[in-house]
């Protein structure tokens, strides 16, 4: 439950009204609670603005407490807290006063805290004490904060690149492999994979990222006038790999499709040709050893809809505005055993050469981008 009950929030607002009678510590604690629970519709803004002033006026020693309040805060609450904390840090740094180094350092290293709040603390520390970077980064290569991890990986890449690959190839390979194991961001992985390739090493990128590479495809269904996006075709009602249906131009049936693209690209144009005004479906079975929360991350420049185990996750009616890895992220719960992932991918009528693509990439990972692999996954 992200938001607490309305009654609880009214109580917090009442506390805020009583702030003048409370002590400084109580004021701060009450104000932090108000900020943590700011909801979406703007109705909490007036109370939040009053609470923000209390928090932003706090002593720098209270920064860890303020950053801790970001743990479990609503997205808007986190931003209220961030700006207040930044106002304090900015004030202290401008006045050339020291931030609470030890407490912030402990905060950075405490992975129970919100990854983003920890990265803020890291940046303040490094800004005021640059040598902290070398002290902290060696501890952060496996960090749950993607931003802290990214900094640590950059350091590992820099270290690997300093090794003379001609005279010490195995050391260079080991160093790059260490960087690769820690890296989660596409640009860093590409850089590392490129260096390893020069050293004669292969990198299984789909496995590293958790791209699904084995699919069943069925197409084409009709998308004339872009009406196919909202048309419920049989695969949305049943997943039966033996079934045949009437498609746009004849009988259609499921066919297996394996992609060996390094970034898991599934291109409908390959089996079906460069069709226009069509709908295709892609189905993958993901075997999970247990019930677990994962992220489904999709990249697609066509209109699409996504289901997991028959439950609609999200859909997007946009064509050819661009595609990138992890363009869309959805947190879902996998059940033990087989999980059925179904994706509908629509192609429209545009004829420009940049509208040929009818494709997607989808991966399963945790919130840091670490691949979560199906128990039954084919080799590359």
């Amino acid at each position: 439950m992200i938001y607490r009950s309305a009654g609880c929030f009214v109580l917090l607002l009442s506390c805020l009204v009583a702030i003048p009678a409370a002590s400084g510590s109580e004021n701060l604690a009450q104000s932090l609670e108000v900020l943590r629970h700011v909801a979406l519709d703007g109705k909490d803004n007036a109370a939040a603005a009053r609470a923000w002033k209390v928090v932003a006026a706090a002593d720098a020693e209270r920064l860890p407490e303020i950053l801790s309040a970001i743990d479990g805060a609503t997205p808007l609450g986190a931003n209220w807290l961030r700006t207040a904390a930044e106002a304090i840090a900015e004030r202290e740094l401008r006045e050339k006063r020291a931030l609470p180094r030890k407490a912030l350092q402990a905060f950075v290293l405490d992975t129970d805290h919100h990854p983003r709040a920890r990265f803020l603390a890291y940046r303040w520390l490094v800004r005021s004490i640059p040598e902290m970077k070398e002290e902290l980064l060696p501890k952060l290569a496996q960090d749950p904060s993607v931003e802290l991890r990214r900094e640590a990986v950059a350091r590992l890449i820099a270290e690997a690149s300093k090794i003379d690959a001609k005279t010490r190839p195995s050391d260079a390979i080991t160093a790059y492999r260490r960087a690769l194991e820690a890296s989660r961001d596409e640009d860093q992985v590409r850089k590392i994979a490129g260096a390893l390739k020069k050293l004669g090493q292969k990198v299984d990128l789909p496995r590293h990222f958790g791209f699904l590479t084995d699919w069943k495809l069925i197409a084409p269904f009709d998308n004339s006038g872009r009406r196919g996006f909202d048309t419920v075709y049989p695969p949305e009602r049943e997943l039966n790999e033996k079934a045949t249906y009437k498609g746009k131009t004849g009988i259609v049936r499921w066919q297996a499709f394996h992609t060996d693209h390094p970034f898991g690209l599934v291109d409908f144009n390959r089996p079906y040709g460069k069709l226009k005004e069509v709908v295709g479906y892609a189905w993958a079975d993901f075997y999970s050893p247990r019930k677990q929360q994962v992220e489904l991350r999709l990249g697609c420049k066509n209109a699409w809809k996504l289901w997991l185990n028959g439950e609609f996750i999200f859909g997007r009616d946009e064509y050819h505005r661009g595609m990138q890895m992890d363009q869309y992220r959805y947190r879902v719960t996998l059940r033990p055993g087989v999980n059925r992932i179904l994706l509908k991918v629509c192609q429209n009528e545009q004829q420009e050469d940049w509208t040929v693509q009818w494709e997607f990439q989808l991966r399963v990972c945790d919130e840091t981008g670490t691949a979560i692999l199906s128990e039954r996954r084919s080799s590359p």
Partner: protein, 411 residues
């Protein structure tokens, strides 16, 4: 009534010249400056500047920006503001505040994006230009995060509109700039999917009204105009037409079905509206009547840059050609080929001179007071310019890809 509401009431009671705020004559408080005209009447700007010559010419200062963006700088009082986005995922959204004299940063505030931040590589989530009413500054990012700060960096309110409208996004990025009047802030969130416009109370960010918009991408900025019946209306442009809504209620006042530009914005000029449609169309709006076309001219086609109107003439940049036409008739008066390949920044004007900015960082200063336009100056920064510059304090304020520049006479 809370403090913000009281302030808004006092400002309205004072009958401030600018819609609902205390913008001073020398401020540049929004996209294309006061009232969105792109014109600063009394300004002593240099006609020559360079960062590629040694020594640099007429560059008062420059600061390296901590992030990307193509939003325009604002100048309010003695401060200049610019939004940025940074981080590998461009999900750190910031507002930077600098001192106009020294270029020293006064403060900065940052938010985490609560919506998608993917954009075309040439732009960034910090694409929509903020707006100020002279007391507060209102921000919008491509992630549909909306925020209000006072001029000292105190956060007043926040909205995360992509959490409320999860398909209101564009994978190329959203870029329509905010407009404000009479205590109402209007954000145009038009895209191919969940397309809408939303009006928010400037006092606390709560919703005044929202309307569905045609599901097609548009990056143009709305116009708020005072109609002849003394009601303010906000006009929204889409490739599927133009619609005016009552500013207070969101009720439709009129429609005009000619498809507009998805990028260049319309311009209000007296009782005319100049629409980037059929080339350029001049529309006269009379209350209770259908909008009437006064003229249209398909030779006045706009691309990305918004037209500029000044002293009975209208200026458009078609491709790389600057064209000047008569405002009353639409007749083409003269044209001038500009140096540069593409023009995303809209032209601005001061002291009878038009300032143009090509994407490759080259600027031309054109004297438009004669029978034909004449290039009388040039500027060169050596950096990509997509944002429309500001004019204030006898200086040009240019946001390039990496820097914020103050261009002012040094002699």
């Amino acid at each position: 009534m809370n403090h913000r509401g009281l302030v808004a009431l006092m400002v309205a009671a004072c009958g401030a010249l600018f819609f609902g705020g205390r913008v001073c004559g020398d401020d540049w408080p929004r996209f294309r400056g006061p009232d969105g005209t792109g014109v600063a009447e009394a300004s002593r700007l240099p006609t020559r500047w360079s960062n590629v010559s040694r020594p640099p010419v007429n560059i008062a200062w420059k600061v390296r920006l901590p992030g990307r963006g193509c939003s325009c700088p604002l100048v309010v009082g003695d401060r200049v503001f610019v939004t940025c986005s940074s981080g590998y995922r461009q999900d750190h959204l910031s507002l930077q505040c600098y001192d106009v004299e020294s270029g020293k940063r006064v403060w900065q505030r940052s938010l985490w994006a609560t919506g998608r931040t993917m954009t075309h590589p040439t732009i960034a989530p910090a694409a929509p230009t903020p707006v100020s009413d002279g007391q507060y500054i209102y921000l919008l990012y491509s992630s549909n995060d909306v925020a209000c700060f006072d001029l000292d960096g105190n956060l007043q309110w926040l909205r995360g509109l992509m959490m409320e409208y999860p398909n209101a996004s564009n994978s190329l990025g959203m870029a329509s700039s905010l407009v404000v009047a009479d205590g109402i802030l209007v954000a145009k969130l038009e895209n191919d999917s969940q397309s809408l416009a939303i009006a928010l109370h400037t006092s606390d960010g709560t919703t005044v009204w929202s309307v569905e918009r045609p599901p097609i991408a548009s990056w143009s900025t709305p116009v708020i105009r005072l109609a002849q019946d003394d009601k303010k209306e906000v006009v929204l442009e889409s490739p599927r037409g133009f619609t005016a809504y009552d500013l207070k209620t969101g009720k439709v006042r009129w429609r005009f079905d000619a498809g507009g530009s998805s990028q260049a914005s319309m311009v209000a000029a007296g009782d005319l509206l100049l629409l980037p449609a059929r080339g350029l169309t001049a529309l006269r709006i009379t209350p209770g009547q259908m909008p009437r076309v006064v003229w249209d001219n398909n030779r006045l086609r706009c691309n990305t840059a918004t037209p500029l109107v000044h002293k009975g003439k209208v200026y458009v940049i078609s491709g790389t050609i600057l064209k000047c036409a008569d405002l009353e008739t639409g007749k083409l008066l003269w044209q001038l080929r500009l140096k540069g390949r593409r023009f995303s920044a809209s032209p601005v004007m001061a002291g009878g001179k038009l300032y143009t900015f090509s994407e490759d960082g080259a600027s031309q200063v054109i004297d438009v007071t004669g029978r034909k336009g004449k290039v009388v100056g040039r500027g060169e920064l050596g950096e990509t310019i997509l944002a429309t510059p500001a004019i204030a304090h006898d200086a040009l304020w240019i946001r390039s890809h990496q820097h914020l520049w103050k261009i002012a006479r040094r002699e």
